[in-house]
Symmetry: C2
Subunit: 420 residues, 2 copies
């Protein structure tokens, strides 16, 4: 059977607009990979009658209710109480959880001490399965009642994510005798509609596994999902589908079940013990920022020169004035010179450089907004892409960085660096 789930975000801060409901996004993505249909998200404040009314609506239209938030130690945190009462479950003191909370406070350097309120978190619905919290004190839990499944997760995104992956997904997998397995094929360098065009016949003719494309920021994700009696079988069923997608999309696939383009590049660099440096103009440090978002990036990333003002390209990066004057700062020769120079300066194995017009106005040579050159310098050679990325500043910057990462990825995997 196919389950439906509703995600119920609990927290007044969501209704005030202090934060976006990223928990619901993360959980939805996970449920879609499990083949569970999500038809509604609801957000409600820390208000018991309104929370109760939202729970009543959710149970009338979904098999599984997943709450996020309201599990903390303050008197506002009432999710457990309201949900337990709604489903006729008592809250019972759970000594092992209390012990875990006590030792959490004993072992961590915290300015605030444990209060009796913290032990309230050890009150849990009778007969529930307890989800341990790897990042905080609030445990989550799950129970079944009258054919409905209730899962409660904490609100802080780090806690919610880790508990969802480590506890909720295994719980949900056990609901079904079928194994549903899904894989994510990550693609850069071709738009969603072009991917759809190429794969339409294949997608339409398939029912198990299924194949569906999703547009991500500047890239495309293809989700393959298979149902079978067991996991091995489901995994095996996906193999020929993935092989066929590889044939059709080719080296624009940068990874399967990987995180991001920058993580893929990081892994490749680390594997090959190579280092990288960047020289950035219009991206203004965004590429370096993305590479250093990754814990452990110091093993592969040397540094960057952000040469935002034109004269810095000469004064700091040493791009010859003659080249800058002849071709302008936004040009192929300048991008190549920037890459070669930053590679030398930083003593890196390879380097990328980005120079372009992110707007709001054309540059002094009348290059329209969106004109960008991305160069790679490696192994004594160089390559350069000339791009036209539209008029949106933020998109121009993200896509420019994506292209730089894609060129590194292609170099390190030995596929054509300038396709088409």
């Amino acid at each position: 059977m196919s389950y439906t789930a509703e995600i119920l975000g609990v927290g007044t801060e969501l209704l005030l607009g202090n934060i976006a409901n990223t928990d619901a996004q993360m959980i939805s993505e996970g449920l879609s990979a499990l083949g569970i249909n999500v038809y509604f998200h609801t957000v409600v404040g820390d208000n018991p009658p309104r929370l109760k009314s939202a729970v009543d609506i959710a149970r009338s239209r979904a098999d599984i209710i997943i709450t996020t938030g309201g599990l903390g130690p303050t008197c506002d945190d009432l999710t457990k109480q309201v949900l337990a009462e709604a489903f006729g479950k008592k809250l019972i003191f759970h000594e092992p959880t209390a012990e875990r909370i006590r030792s959490y406070f004993k072992n961590s350097i915290r300015t605030n001490n444990m209060t009796e309120n913290n032990l309230q978190q050890a009150m849990l619905p009778e007969g529930c399965e307890i989800f341990e919290n790897a990042w905080g004190t609030a445990p989550g839990c799950a129970f079944e009642s009258g054919g409905k499944h209730v899962l409660m997760l904490p609100g802080p995104p780090m806690e919610c994510r880790s508990m969802f992956i480590n506890c909720a997904i295994p719980y949900l997998r056990r609901l079904s005798s079928e194994a549903i397995v899904s894989r994510a094929i990550r693609i850069f360098g071709i738009g969603e509609s072009a991917v759809e065009d190429k794969l339409r016949d294949m997608m339409v003719s398939m029912s198990n596994p299924t194949l569906a494309p999703y547009a991500k920021e500047g890239e495309v994700m293809l989700r393959v999902t298979a149902k079978a009696d067991n996991e091995e079988l489901a995994v095996a069923m996906m193999e020929p589908v993935i092989a066929r997608v590889r044939d059709i999309i080719g080296d624009r696939i940068y990874g399967i079940d990987v995180d991001t383009l920058e993580n893929t590049v990081f892994d490749l660099l680390k594997e090959q013990q190579m280092t990288v440096a960047t020289a950035e103009s219009c991206t203004g440090g965004l590429l370096a920022k993305r590479l250093t978002d990754i814990p452990g990036s110091s093993a592969v990333f040397k540094g960057s020169v952000v040469a935002y003002a034109s004269e810095i390209k000469n004064q700091v990066l040493g791009v010859p004035k003659t080249i800058l004057e002849e071709h302008g700062a936004v040009s192929r020769p300048v991008a190549i010179a920037m890459a070669a120079s930053v590679r030398r300066m930083m003593g890196a194995d390879l380097a990328v450089a980005i120079t372009g017009v992110a707007g709001p106005a054309k540059d002094e040579r009348d290059n329209p907004v969106g004109t960008v050159f991305v160069a790679l310098s490696a192994g004594g050679r160089h390559w350069c892409r000339a791009l036209h990325l539209g008029a949106d500043r933020s998109r121009i910057r993200i896509m420019s960085a994506n292209h730089a990462l894609d060129m590194i990825r292609r170099y390190l995997t030995g596929v054509e660096i300038l396709p088409e």
Copy 2:
């Protein structure tokens, strides 16, 4: 009277987890500034019966329904049809809107041509107020029916935001004979609970205007909201409150009704015709990235050296080896030397430098994760903050950049650079 609103996000991509519901966050923040209570958010897919059921629930518990999404030209986009039918309104062809759509296609460089579907967007509920779309073809609209107000906005965040600000807010303001005005006091350098402690007596004793603190990422926002017969009066009522908050919080207030810390710094630099450069280690380009997020930043930002590997601090920034060896890369003398050096290299009026341990591990000198030094070099002098920012990598990086921006802001406004 005080209105309640429900925000109804329409779009299957939200339920699949492809995007977060940032429209609901943006609108919630705006409604809270208008004194309109938001008790629920709902997200539903592009499915007419389920959308209809969500509309029925929303109308039973809110005075105002604001939908986002589902106004596009594809056959999936059914928000207008479902809402109009639910409230007994016919859809009527609106020639001026059709003309606007035709000319949009005529005047813009697009690869896709206008189709008959695009003209579907000119079908609008009878008697509605039309909201023009500054960024796309889909118009929004608002109507009243049976005491309920329905507002429909497009889903893409840029279109939604601009239509909400330019069309929906004025519509909502007119619903009330009272003027509700609100101002945002932006604070950096003191936590939310400390702000609450200092202002508690004041907050508790006030009912109009009201004063409420909100935690933002690494900073605090105080919202002052006043109701009065007219806007002038409401604005005047807030003056003494703002003055008193200024007395209590002092120069930790970095702006009122401003965007972000980096925008505040950008405005100050531009006003004073000063330029800035940055040298970054653990932030890895994040500060440069944030400064160059701002269109027009080239007027004030020269560039940055991201010296992520230790040797780059010497080889590129010229920090003497003796200093690096004696004090270690994460130290006050190195931060100061980095700032002074990048200021000279880039010919900037002022420079900031950040060096620290963002984790995952301690550095080789046993500095714990979260140890960060932020230095400012300006006018032949220098200042340095020593910070301990906890263990979360992302927070360490954001807070380090915030501190650097705060030091620049303090220098340019002539207040103490190292308070406390």
